[in-house]
């Protein structure tokens, strides 16, 4: 392992930007209580959302739970992931409650070996997307509040029983979304100089820093997600908690810039993860992330209701769940299986790849992540930007119910950025997503089929273009947000 900054072949490259070297930020990121200070406001907001969701107005646009969850949180999340990194996991309020609870209850067990993968969280991620449609979560403050309560309870139960960050790594659907999306982020928690790590005898970044004279007393925990910094590649499974930064005795970990999606173009053995190409569960997560982005947006445009009515007629049902079940099976299982299977088969026979069909599909599936992220960005930033200021009247109204007058009567006319300005941005996100996918797929094809890279590239590029065209078509469909099944 060599220090990249001392490698003569790339010596001319400028050193990466390090966010922690920015004056003022260095001390801030090294401050041990930074995470807690970021978590406290989000915990207060979460409690306000739960209370307003359970006790406040039942109309979603007037309620803090629905407005903040489905307009502001999701939009801010994807924009921060795009512009910086996984800072929302850093400020996660669920972890604050967990940390407090762990002062009283120490977990005793390790997470079961058979569940040390992403399959459970992939299922939960798909389940949340399903529940979003089935229970019209966007229109129900009550259900939204219970979702948040359920999240807090799940964290307490899982991390109350199991050691380390079991919930974050193996359960949390939001976390999995953030992990996959943060592969597109420009910042990464990373070792500054690998030579320093080679000379390090304590490995505190993973073991935790011990009290002087007592090996059993941990005064600063190391990475709870089993990411050993010198062998960590990219943002997958990194919550930006900065435990490694605080534990490193050599101040050798920074928040460094990198090319977004670059970690998808390579396939080294990654600490705590292994090789991407050998992780079917991670590929399944990438599939739910990418195809789920389209499905989630499809649920909000007019043609979905025609399709649902047609399906209900065929199935002879008048309830939503079976129809949604069929739609989810079609878009999250059958469609990916057909498209990715076909592309893998073509890569095999045309590109001459020597990999078996499934490993081949697994390897290239990660190439769809940029496109999926582009779709999430387009969708969530649309709601965020067009409804940006709605947080003001909703907060005013919630405060008024407590008897506090915040700047007069609620300004219900306050909305956000006009749709005509936001729509070009959405198209830009989708174009960026397609470009990213094509770039990643090209890099994978070059390393996989060095003799005929174009032939390996073409089938996967075709899949990306087909999905991109579907996304563009959706973007220009009339929006139609209904909770009422088969109405009109």
């Amino acid at each position: 392992m060599s220090n990249p900054t001392q490698n003569p072949s790339i010596a001319a490259e400028p050193p990466p930007f390090d966010l922690m070297q920015v004056p003022g930020l260095r001390r801030l990121f090294h401050w041990r209580h930074l995470r807690t200070v970021l978590q406290i406001p989000l915990l207060i907001v979460s409690v306000a959302m739960i209370l307003d969701g359970l006790l406040g107005p039942s109309l979603a646009p007037k309620n803090l739970a629905t407005t903040l969850s489905w307009v502001h949180f999701r939009g801010a999340l994807v924009l921060v992931l795009l512009c910086a990194g996984n800072f929302f996991c850093l400020a996660c309020p669920f972890m604050l409650v967990r940390n407090v609870a762990r002062r009283f209850f120490r977990p005793r067990w390790n997470w079961p070996q058979k569940l040390r993968n992403k399959w459970l969280s992939v299922g939960l991620f798909a389940l949340i997307l399903f529940c979003y449609e089935e229970f019209n979560l966007w229109s129900s403050p009550w259900w939204t509040a219970w979702l948040i309560v359920g999240y807090f309870l799940a964290v307490l139960v899982v991390d109350g029983l199991f050691k380390h960050a079991s919930f974050c790594k193996f359960v949390c659907p939001i976390g999995q979304f953030n992990f996959v999306a943060s592969t597109m982020s420009p910042l990464e928690v990373k070792v500054r100089d690998l030579d320093v790590c080679e000379a390090c005898g304590t490995k505190d970044c993973i073991r935790g820093r011990r009290a002087p004279g007592s090996e059993l007393v941990v005064i600063q925990r190391g990475c709870e997600l089993a990411l050993f910094q010198p062998l960590k590649v990219g943002n997958m499974d990194c919550t930006f908690c900065l435990d490694c930064v605080h534990a490193c005795p050599h101040d050798n970990i920074g928040i460094l810039s990198r090319l977004p999606a670059s970690e998808l173009m390579v396939d080294p053995r990654r600490s705590g993860i292994g090789r991407f190409s050998q992780r079917k569960d991670l590929a399944a997560l990438a599939i739910v992330f990418s195809f789920g982005a389209l499905l989630n947006a499809f649920g909000m445009v007019s043609p979905v209701y025609a399709l649902e009515s047609w399906l209900a007629g065929i199935l002879h049902v008048d309830s939503k769940a079976p129809v949604l079940g069929v739609l989810f099976a079609l878009f999250l299982i059958l469609e990916p299986a057909v498209l990715l299977g076909l592309a893998a088969w073509l890569t095999q026979i045309w590109g001459g790849s020597r990999r078996a069909l499934v490993p081949l599909a697994v390897r290239y599936t990660y190439g769809l992540v940029p496109l999926g992220f582009g779709m999430w960005l387009a969708h969530y930033s649309f709601h965020f930007l067009t409804g940006l200021y709605t947080v003001v009247p909703v907060t005013q109204s919630a405060a008024a119910r407590l008897g506090w007058n915040l700047f007069g009567a609620p300004r219900w006319g306050w909305l956000g950025i006009p749709m005509r300005f936001v729509q070009p941005l959405e198209v830009g996100f989708l174009v960026l997503g397609l470009a990213g996918s094509l770039l990643v797929i090209h890099q994978l094809a070059e390393s996989d089929c060095a003799e005929r890279p174009l032939r390996a590239f073409t089938p996967w590029a075709a899949v990306s273009v087909v999905l991109w065209l579907a996304a563009m078509w959706m973007m220009f469909q009339p929006m139609d947000m209904r909770g009422t099944f088969l109405a009109g």
Binding site: L59, A60, P61, K62, T67, F384, G483, A487
Partner: protein
């Protein structure tokens, strides 16, 4: 009498209007829904004794023209 219509999804543009008395006890007004989907019409009225009255009416499945 004030009228307000909101979509079931938060963050979408509400529409506002007024209803006027066209006969004793009968009020009429119009609202133009800006988008297909589920809407809720809110009626804000002030009674002669000064009290305020709030009522909401669900208008599900509004279709595009």
């Amino acid at each position: 009498m004030g009228l307000e219509a909101d979509m079931s999804h938060p963050g979408m543009a509400p529409v506002f209007g007024e209803a006027r008395e066209v006969a004793p006890g009968q009020y009429q007004g119009s609202l133009e829904f800006g988008m297909p989907g589920d809407w809720v019409v809110l009626i804000h009225a002030r009674l002669p004794d000064g009290r305020t009255l709030e009522r909401d009416v669900n208008v599900p499945g509004v279709a595009a023209n």
